[in-house]
Symmetry: C2
Subunit: 497 residues, 2 copies
Amino acid sequence: MTNTQFISKADAYKRPLKKRAVKPARFVEIYRDEEAFQGVAVRELGDITPVTLMSGDSVILDFGGHCVGYPSLDLHCVGDNISDSPTRLKLSFAEFPLELYARHGEYNGLLGNGWLQYEEKTAVFTPCTLRVDRRYSFRYMKIERVDNAPYPMVVESFNAECVSAVELDSVEKYIAPDERLQRIYDVSLKTLAECEQEVFEDGPKRDRRLWIGDLRLQAITDYVTFKNLDLIKRCIYLFAGYLNSKGEVAPCVYPDCPPYRLEWTFADYSMFLCSCIYDYYKATGDRTLADELYGVAFNQLEMVSSRIEADLQATADGTFIDWCPSLDKSVALLGVYAYCLGQLNEIRADEWLEAEIKKTHARLRGFLKDGVLVTPLGQVSQHSQVWGALSGAFDREECRRLLEELDTLDTEYTFRTPYARHYYIEALVSAGLEDKALSFIRDFWGMILDAGFDTCPEIFNPDNQFESPYEAPEINSACHAWSCTPAYWIKRLCKEE
Amino acid sequence: MTNTQFISKADAYKRPLKKRAVKPARFVEIYRDEEAFQGVAVRELGDITPVTLMSGDSVILDFGGHCVGYPSLDLHCVGDNISDSPTRLKLSFAEFPLELYARHGEYNGLLGNGWLQYEEKTAVFTPCTLRVDRRYSFRYMKIERVDNAPYPMVVESFNAECVSAVELDSVEKYIAPDERLQRIYDVSLKTLAECEQEVFEDGPKRDRRLWIGDLRLQAITDYVTFKNLDLIKRCIYLFAGYLNSKGEVAPCVYPDCPPYRLEWTFADYSMFLCSCIYDYYKATGDRTLADELYGVAFNQLEMVSSRIEADLQATADGTFIDWCPSLDKSVALLGVYAYCLGQLNEIRADEWLEAEIKKTHARLRGFLKDGVLVTPLGQVSQHSQVWGALSGAFDREECRRLLEELDTLDTEYTFRTPYARHYYIEALVSAGLEDKALSFIRDFWGMILDAGFDTCPEIFNPDNQFESPYEAPEINSACHAWSCTPAYWIKRLCKEE
């Protein structure tokens, strides 16, 4: 179900990317070190200079920070020598050390190995510039000479053309109350910038896609930083324009890849169209977009309502909420439902919305046992407490009770993604527990910094450094949109110094 | 020793390449067949249609004839499916079946493996067009899906942008006396067209270089076919402009690769600058170029003269003549020397030239024993007879005696390259043995056709199909400039029907 008018608007908001020339900062080596994060450490080797490569030689560049773009190398032969045969270089890219340390041939993850970041380039004549045409996401780049010719080849200079929809330098400087929070803020903001491309991508390395769950978090952070309203509108229109055959908002749309949307849905993600237009209205004061898409958003809630009526558990199984195996998501789903009902009703009040809110609140209250929400399957999960607290079904005291002991709750159903942790923070803040929220950010994102990341990863488990939803930590994304909201929270919770 | 004036002229004669869109003719398979040339045969599989590739699948395209250029593929995902991860394709190119049949990883030749014609390309999003940026020389192209994602990928269309300095279609049609000669003519002309690029390349697959020995043969063929005088002048100026530090003409120059010329020389190749300007003068009637470069050409002969005086054998060791191991090239060198002296003297008579001709003729006559030329090391080679016959030292009857039994001479020192065979044909024709020349062309190049080539190869030995100067027949060039002169000879020797 394609709304061509919305798609035209999405197209009209497309802007050229901003390009930035970046030079590597230093040569490094990457080596096994049991003490280091994921057992792999980086050692500085020295300043960047032209380097002579013989067959089998390699160097590793550290660009000094996360890059998204197109590296290039200037090559020439040495002195009087003219190479008798072409030079073949294997170029490998990595956001984090393990990604470069793991062998491509031994990758055995659940995602296709096409995501592995490497390619070979051949230089037939020199001097020449080798430029990759696949966009890579990297801080480290390994250059390995893989042809067997006995001629030296000089890499004279190393460059990268980096791309983003926004410029970090052009955003108003924010001074955090302390260095730790400043660093978390900066790394979050950098993460957002790297993910802003022709759409808000979930991660620039992988999957490079516009997911509505990520979009919403990117947008709220962007409103208070880059203020890239055009890109936000573009992405919201894409979701409203490319509905699936039932009229549902897809979890993910591809602006240039037919059939443009996934046919399957996540119920929570479909409903988040309400949050997207609500946030836009709240951030800008402009209700045009919210008015225009109110009907599409309303439909999402109606459809989820029918599905919940028919089978709550089945509908809950078809939500995202978090990557937590065997999680009973039914309470969380009702929480998201009530949350989105409330937002849409705030845009424009409606009798059906109000009735549904009332009904859903009552239903949610039915799951409260001794101050804790217990799902129909008897689970006490962190997720149920968070979405209960965000649902509007409970008063501030009840919410605080749901949240205050949540981090020590005796349950295996805990937050697995920074995405889920964002809603925990939102719940804390909405219950007036700002200090706890800030200290949670400081602890969790602080551990991310301590692990050596300079952007926020897709997944981070301090108790299992090798955790990967794909059974291969090297394919994890180290720069992932849904982890970028500390920039939003810090700015909101801390008075600027 | 760079003459910037000549280099500027060479640059000024550079013209844009002509581009031609080419579609593959059919799908084929390549399989082991002991009866076939090099033990590998091609079987037609059917017309070109869009093809769906799963992980591990491959197809082979036959473009129906030799191509030099940049293939591209249009890809898209099937139906409702959106690929979850990038598609990686290995693209392999081959001028002849063995090149595609041999495994890249098992290559063990003397030349660098950077010449192997393959690369991998990744498509992150579809639909997309994958275009290679390395220029390939091929008739066959294999497309192999090497990522492991379980999604079908459709290659919707297959294209190649082919490049050449000339257009086969624009050359005046020549009708040969019979079908066999017509086919040899066509294949030779196609070979020349494929090698005419930004310079006259020796071979478009490898080494893609301007060698003066090849240039001379390309030019004489071009004068009577494409008449691409600008490219001929460009290449002659490049040789005159980029002399080595002693002022010698290099065997090979690279217009865009410092230090632009090889420092080492072949004495015969240095002297061929005389032939190049002589041929230009003869073909066009315009003596401007010959006059302008007369001095440079004269110097080449003077320098070779001194070297011959000092040490004939050492100078002969530093000639090309042919790829014939242990060949004593001293008589052949004197033949080339006399031949070039004569050409320069014909451009403009000179006392020293005349004296040298006389002296060299006398010296050559001294090697004649019982009607056959025997080298100082006692060798009776095909090469000595040919260059003796071309030297001008012998009368027609003596030349005929040198040549008539040459093909049955009891010697291991036989022609190894089509290049050496060209001068055999020239010697036959200059001795009035046109019929023998034509029948030699018909036999030798006829065997090339029968082996399945549709361009003329660098090397062809009917007694050893796997002969390779590089100890790896798959790296041989199947389209090589120095084999293209049958088009010149057929046109010269056969009255058009």
